[in-house]
């Protein structure tokens, strides 16, 4: 499979946070084995060579793990394929002649910096509020001193695979961050190491989440459906459970 694909892109352009944005149309010749971001590289190269402004977008690892890439493609965060980040999406998922709309994450808590780049600092502040185990370097006991059943470790790991990309927020009509917060709360609530701060953690993280202006969860499930790491909806149920438990205990 190695034929040219003629693609029309409708890309969101916005000069800075305060500017108003608009869609701009571009034509680009792609190749089915190219990644979606490589197509943007080709387009930007064209723009630079013809004296125009390239499109700003975030990316780094380009292998689906850093969580930096963040494009809403044809209305869906990270595009049409399940369980895949923007950077892992390949042009073979599209057809010759397609018109593709590309926008930044849309959420009040994630203001646009420029074009397709947004500010996700709110996620760091939520982690900073409580998404950790308070253990100073040097305080640890031998790693095998506390046994953890394999199923528990696996469940914690599954929740811990969240890459902090924010697609869940972008997918949600309320811009809720419950999937992201639920994933971290679940990971640490499962593990014995997370027990001492189990209740204070969930309350602190939820308070910060609210302060950042993320919306409430109305159980639509779009977040989990669009999550590139397929973090399950059950982490939200778990987040609620942990939160009520903490509240009942007066935290």
């Amino acid at each position: 499979m190695n034929h040219d694909m003629n693609i029309t892109l409708k890309v969101w352009r916005q000069e800075n946070t305060n500017a108003s944005g608009r869609f701009e149309e571009h034509k680009v010749v792609a190749n089915p084995d190219m990644s979606f971001l490589e197509m943007f590289d080709v387009l930007n190269e064209q723009l630079i060579e013809t004296g125009k402004e390239p499109i700003a977008f975030d990316h780094d690892c380009r292998e689906g793990i850093c969580g930096m890439c963040s494009m809403v493609i044809n209305g869906r965060p990270h595009g049409p394929k399940r369980g895949v980040t923007t950077c892992q999406l390949h042009m073979r998922s599209f057809k010759d002649g397609d018109t593709i709309t590309v926008e930044p994450w849309r959420a009040n808590a994630f203001p646009v910096i420029k074009d397709l780049s947004v500010n996700r600092g709110a996620f760091d502040r939520i982690i900073s509020a409580g998404g950790f185990v308070s253990v100073n370097t040097g305080n640890a006991v031998d790693a095998n001193a506390i046994l953890i059943p394999k199923e528990v470790a696996d469940e914690a790991f599954e929740a811990a695979t969240c890459i902090g990309c924010g697609a869940c927020v972008s997918a949600c009509k309320n811009a809720s961050a419950m999937l992201f917060v639920g994933a971290k709360v679940t990971q640490l609530a499962k593990l014995p190491q997370g027990q001492p701060e189990r209740e204070t953690r969930v309350v602190a993280m939820v308070n910060q989440m609210d302060a950042e202006g993320f919306g409430a969860c109305t159980n639509t499930g779009a977040c989990s459906a669009e999550c590139p790491k397929q973090i399950p909806l059950s982490v939200i149920a778990n987040l609620n459970k942990e939160y009520y438990r903490a509240k009942m205990n007066g935290k």
């Binding site: 084995d33 490589e38 190269e45 380009r62 689906g64 895949v84 600092g121």
Partner: protein, 658 residues
């Protein structure tokens, strides 16, 4: 200047302990008045910043991504080594020490490596305590796998996402300190100049990548934890933003660069597919636990791999290196793949690939074990495959998915096609035992320094080194410096040295913006990468290196005439960020070739075609080259300083994995 590595006296196994018990300390009240700048928030930077903050220092941390959690460490896949000997298979601190020195082809310091092996055990404890969900056995204990260059199982892992889990652990510790007000975090900030006052590192000039404005930051000490420079090759397994800029600016200000030509080419990566390719994707070394590498015995054999019968396959690593087989160190596996492909046995449409095949172990190792666990007697091959597939999926699922996503081929059904790619740089800023560079008060940690891996790094040892440096080494060694700084008041950033450094940085930006040529920075980067890969890559020779040096000089000259940086300075401008990084790579590339040319021997990842045994193995020259090359920047040239390597505990010998 005479290089002093400051290795403590005494037997190698006691050096670190005696250092720790005699190093001067800084009392808690004084720590609060001392400020430390940590550039980089990967494993090295996050662990250093959080630990130093816990101790009471005032820390400022910087990263160029939008969050410290996205540092390139996040992408590490396979695992992290530690001499825990949980498997009771004969591991020990000494064995990890020995394996690392030997794996590095006897070009690393004994003192540093022994310390690394000693603290490795504490790292795992610390990570588990921080909530890192490592893989576990059914009994609840930690699980281990094997990596190349060793005969024990000492690698701890979390599926194929070990780096992610370790970094999120270190990052959460960092964010905790941010919340407590002990660390001030500057994301989307890039260090673009070092500030030196009276011969000591006292701060940095950083560019706020959102506003484009330059900022001055003071610190009593500066730590560079800025990662490796593999992206000088353009195509590598590194993240797109990984760069040498911070280290390079420090180098230009007096920090020597150690062993710049020591580059690790990783044997198992997804091959290049087209001219638009922007990066290469690693398939973790852990896959060599269960994957067997082969090519057809017949040149140009175009049959589907599954149709090539067993006896017509050449498992060339098992053939050439029976003792270690598929688990030979990376440099050896990479060269062996290149040798087969160059000789015409490569596979795939480009013929620049070999097979990594899981079928044998899927059936014989996992399939049979599962069948007997489930009491299935005389299972058919199909059943064995199905059962084996489940186990393989659990171990490597994310890697298999990634392979399928990129190549559109299903690795559960047919072998993967792989080829070596640039992956890691053993070279980096020269540091002494205390991780201090040749600039007092300037330290380098993690992949940014040259310290522990000699001429070739063993798999799963970079994560170990990054966390060792940050959690357990720097918190002690920095005391030796800062204990003498307790009377130094914070220096105002109006100081003339800050003004001058900012001017240098600003002039450089203006210069780039004003060229207004025709070509993108990216296109220069690609061209540089090709020169480096062809002439300073897996195999090097004198003529090629000389040619590369003149090509790089010409390319650099052209860059300063014809590059076009669009947009404005004072705005979010990724093209300007990139142009600055490419400009530094264009200088570093030259130094790498000069270093490779100086080293008239082959060792580890540095393979000079003129120096090989009859069997094509690397031929070291210990009489002439048992030294670390430390290069001093001299404006238009470099001066070489040599740090002799002395082996008191390990017998230096020809490395053999046969």
């Amino acid at each position: 200047m005479k290089l002093d590595a400051k290795i403590p006296q005494g037997p190698v196994s006691e050096k670190w302990n005696s250092y720790k018990s005699s190093v001067p300390l800084v009392n808690p009240a004084n720590k609060r008045n001392l400020e430390i700048i940590v550039v980089g928030t990967g494993l090295a930077g996050s662990s250093a910043a959080s630990t130093l903050a816990e101790l009471g220092y005032k820390v400022k941390a910087f990263c160029f991504q939008d969050s410290p959690r996205r540092a390139h460490s996040i992408a590490a896949q396979g695992g992290i080594n530690a001499a825990k000997n949980y498997q009771n298979d004969g591991d020990s601190v000494h064995r990890l020490f020995y394996d690392t020195i030997k794996g590095g082809d006897f070009r690393a310091r004994e003192g540093n490596v022994h310390r690394l092996a000693e603290v490795s055990v504490n790292i795992i404890d610390q990570c588990v305590a921080a909530g890192v969900p490592f893989a576990r056995e059914y009994g609840g204990t930690l699980s281990n796998r094997s990596f190349g260059g060793t005969q024990v199982q000492r690698t701890f892992y979390a599926a194929g996402q070990t780096g992610q889990q370790l970094l999120l652990g270190a990052y959460s510790g960092l964010e905790r300190q941010v919340g407590l007000g002990n660390v001030k975090m500057y994301s989307r900030h890039e260090m673009i100049e070092l500030v030196i006052i009276d011969g000591k590192a006292r701060g940095i000039i950083a560019r706020n990548l959102v506003t484009g404005k330059l900022e001055r930051h003071f610190g009593h000490a500066v730590l560079l934890c800025t990662g490796g420079y593999g992206n000088v090759f353009y195509l590598s397994t590194n993240a797109m933003g990984s760069n040498v800029t911070a280290a390079w600016k420090a180098h230009r200000q007096g920090a020597y660069f150690g062993n710049p030509c020591f580059t690790q080419i990783h044997p198992t990566c997804i091959p290049v597919s087209g001219h638009y390719q922007s990066k290469l994707t690693l398939m973790s070394e852990s896959l060599r636990n269960d994957g067997r590498i082969w090519v057809p015995k017949k040149q140009g054999d175009d049959r589907h791999p599954n149709d090539i019968p067993e006896e017509e396959r050449d498992y060339y690593l098992e053939r050439r290196y029976p003792a270690f087989g598929n688990l030979v160190p990376r440099d050896i596996a990479s060269r062996a793949a290149k040798e087969r492909c160059d000789a015409g046995y490569g596979v795939g449409s480009s013929k620049m690939a070999v097979y990594l095949d899981f079928r044998y172990n899927m059936v014989n190792k996992y399939g049979r074990a599962e069948a007997s666990k489930r009491g299935i007697e005389n299972p058919s091959e199909d059943i064995l495959v199905a059962l084996g597939k489940e186990v393989v999926k659990e171990q490597y699922g994310n890697l298999f998915d990634m392979y399928k996503q990129i190549t559109d081929e299903d690795p559960y059904e047919a072998p993967m096609r792989i080829y070596p790619a640039v992956h890691y740089t053993m070279g980096g800023l020269w540091v002494d035992y205390e991780l201090q560079t040749t600039v007092p008060g300037l330290y380098a940690l993690g992949e940014a320094n040259f310290s522990d891996h000699g001429a070739n790094r063993l798999g799963a040892s970079a994560l170990m080194q990054g966390l060792a440096d940050g959690y357990f080494v720097i918190p002690y060694t920095i005391g030796n410096y800062l204990s003498k700084e307790i009377h130094t008041k914070p220096i105002t950033t109006d100081h003339e040295a800050f003004v001058a450094a900012e001017k240098i940085a600003n002039d450089r930006i203006q210069q780039l913006m004003n060229i207004n040529g025709k070509r993108s920075a990216e296109s220069y980067h690609r061209e540089l990468g090709l020169i480096m890969w062809d002439k300073c890559g897996m195999a090097r020779n004198e003529a090629g290196l000389k040619q590369a040096i003149s090509e790089i000089r010409a390319l650099r000259e052209d860059f300063y005439k014809n590059v076009r940086v669009p947009g404005k300075v004072e705005e979010f401008n990724p093209e300007l960020d990139k142009a600055g990084r490419v400009a530094d790579f264009l200088e570093l590339g030259e130094l790498m070739c000069i270093d490779a040319l100086d080293r008239n021997e082959s060792c580890g990842g540095h393979f000079r075609e003129e120096y090989q045994t009859e069997e094509g193995e690397a031929m070291r020259d210990d009489d002439k080259y048992a030294y670390v090359s430390a290069w001093e920047y001299k404006g238009s040239d470099w001066q070489l300083h040599k740090e002799e390597l002395n082996y008191e505990n390990i017998k230096v010998q020809q490395r053999s994995y046969k």
